[in-house]
């Protein structure tokens, strides 16, 4: 490796010494096409960056400065007051316990529903892809249909079902609904991923062990790193950002952070406390960002390592 970089450097030096290139290439003129693309990208960037800038700076301002109205100014005094208030004491409805209630609700919804949905669909996908399952074809077709049924259509029956099961309005209710709704898609994803595992590896494992669970845990699961990370990112983001399911099935006691945030912002009385609202919005957005940061790196590693190719 060091040798290689050394030679590369040497090569670079050589090239630099040679002052005039032998075959100078014509500089390409900027075409109308690339101007259009650049303009489009610039507009997109502005659309994202300006609001982000405003949200972040406002969250660190005091209410006094905000009242002055200079929206794009940097904070005169950087303060975490608004963050503290949003997290600990902001009122949503009659309760004034801040966003932390919603945060912990979201976490306790997230973990069981992740475990439930991934756990069930990875095993189902494995069975469908690698074992002879009777009626596998029709089953896949049904899954496919289920994956595309809009949630709103089955919302009311689901409400009465959860009510019958006595989980309506609880953390478990929301978690189970999330898990159930995600399972068809996740099963299809896992099944398609496992279909690419070479048949001979499966044959070897069947001759070596023959045990469904042993093969799953010892051979298949270690080969699933990539897809697990993809699914994790997908699920964490969609569960964390969900509003509709939370507001429908959470009742009053099990509202996730998004619902908490909405209440906090819409139900405030008197002057609108922009800094609190911005801080609350940012707090809600941070967890998925953290996930992207940490797991995203693993994601790239997983892809480059090529877990399936022997």
């Amino acid at each position: 490796m060091t040798d290689l970089t050394a030679t590369q450097k040497a090569l670079g030096a050589e090239v630099a010494v040679r002052s005039a290139p032998y075959f100078p290439r014509k500089k390409k003129a900027i075409t109308g096409r690339s101007i259009a693309v650049l303009a489009f990208l610039a507009i997109c960037a502005l659309f994202f960056c300006i609001p982000l800038y405003v949200v972040i700076t406002t969250s660190f301002k005091t209410m006094d400065q905000i009242r002055e109205g200079a929206m794009f100014a940097l904070p005169n005094v950087w303060t975490l007051e608004a963050w503290d208030h949003a997290w600990n004491t902001a009122c949503s409805g009659t309760r004034c316990e801040g966003l932390k209630v919603g945060f912990w609700n979201s976490v306790s919804i997230l973990i069981p529903s992740l475990a439930l949905s991934i756990g069930l669909s990875i095993v189902t996908g494995y069975a469908l892809a690698l074992w002879n399952v009777k009626w596998a074809g029709p089953f896949l077709f049904v899954l496919f249909i289920c994956a595309f049924v809009p949630f709103q259509i089955i919302m009311f029956p689901l409400i009465s079902m959860t009510a019958t099961l006595k989980v309506y309005g609880s953390i478990w209710g929301v978690a189970i609904i999330h898990a159930v709704l995600a399972m068809p898609v996740l099963t299809l994803i896992f099944r398609n991923y496992y279909k690419d595992i070479p048949q001979e590896i499966m044959s070897a494992a069947i001759m070596d062990s023959g045990s469904f669970w042993k093969i799953f845990f010892e051979i298949i699961l270690p080969m699933s790193g990539n897809i697990l990370i993809v699914v994790l990112i997908l699920q964490i983001t969609s569960i964390w950002n969900d509003y509709l399911i939370g507001v429908t099935f959470g009742g009053l006691g099990a509202q996730p952070m998004t619902v908490n945030l909405a209440n906090l912002i819409t139900i405030s009385t008197g002057t609108v406390r922009y800094n609190d609202n911005m801080a609350a919005a940012l707090l809600t957005a941070i967890p998925p960002l953290v996930i992207y940061f940490f797991v995203g790196k693993l994601f790239v590693q997983g892809i480059t390592a090529g877990a399936i190719k022997g």
């Binding site: 590896i201 070897a204 069947i206 001759m207 070596d208 877990a307 022997g310």
Partner: protein, 364 residues
Amino acid sequence: MPRVSFEHITKTYGLLKVLDDLNLSIDDGDFLVLLGPSGCGKTTLLNLLAGLLDVTDGRIMIGERDVTDLDPKDRGLAMVFQSYALYPTKTVHGNLRFGLSASKLPREEIEKRIAWAAKLLQIEPLLNRKPGQLSGGQRQRVAIGRALVKNVSVFLFDEPLSNLDAKLRTEMRLEIKKLHDQLKSTIVYVTHDQIEAMTMATKIAVMNGGVIQQFGTPDEIYERPANLFVAGFIGSPAMNLRKAKLSVAAGKVEAVFASGVRLDVSDYPFASPPRDGDEVIAGLRPEHFVLTATGPVAASFTVPVQYAERTGPDASAYFKFEDELLALRVEPGAAAKLTPGQSIAVSYLKGKANLFDARTGQRM
């Protein structure tokens, strides 16, 4: 006592009949090679034995046990796959250990067997590597090791060498042969490489279209092919197959070719008495031709050279005979002297011809 026997095996995929009423049985310690062109059902037959596929009809016996409905892991077999099929996330050691996961062996016994197999196959330095860090030949050794640790009496190989380069293939061929001699196990080996078949097998089953064309020792298959398919399939360059008519007169039997060349087959062990005028196909091995005869010959004739080619230690010359090419094995020295167009006198050795019934294609 037969070790492995297939009895009236039929296998269909939907409407496609891949194997039809197949019978085959081999003895303890045999090295059976299933040989045949692509798609003839070799892998299917092997997978039926392994239990990876279910038979449509028939019975498979291993030793005295009817294994037709047993799970693969309970059949007492070990298999080596064409793509090696190593577990990519396990180390070599882990791969070997997983090979024993169905057997409830104590830990020390497992480690002992892994050490033994690793030593035998010289993969000890590789035990902590992942398959991705091994060369093709090393992977193949590990795959064989994973089969060896199971300590079973029947091993199955499905074209294990076809992903290796020519040199490595020759080496591994010898090693597998050596293992067989050492372990005295029964081996069923699938290949479409006739050199592998001829060098390793104690028994060869030549298959075509899901039917066993001939079953016998390599010598039998080569010297006395049972029908035109086997005759044409085994041997390189292939046996020369030419139409001829029998002429039986005064105790002398001759095969007369269209061009009038007469091949003396009086000493041919005919299964049923030959009749004058029978249509036959004569099979002449390239190596049974000579340019300068020193012993008795069955036929001598003069033919024009088309071209000669050298294949390492050997050379083949092609002559034009009745509008088709006739392949001969010649000494490399003699081959160099042949120039295209030149007419050369060639002779066919006595007692070496093969005759097939032109209508049925069966050996006479």
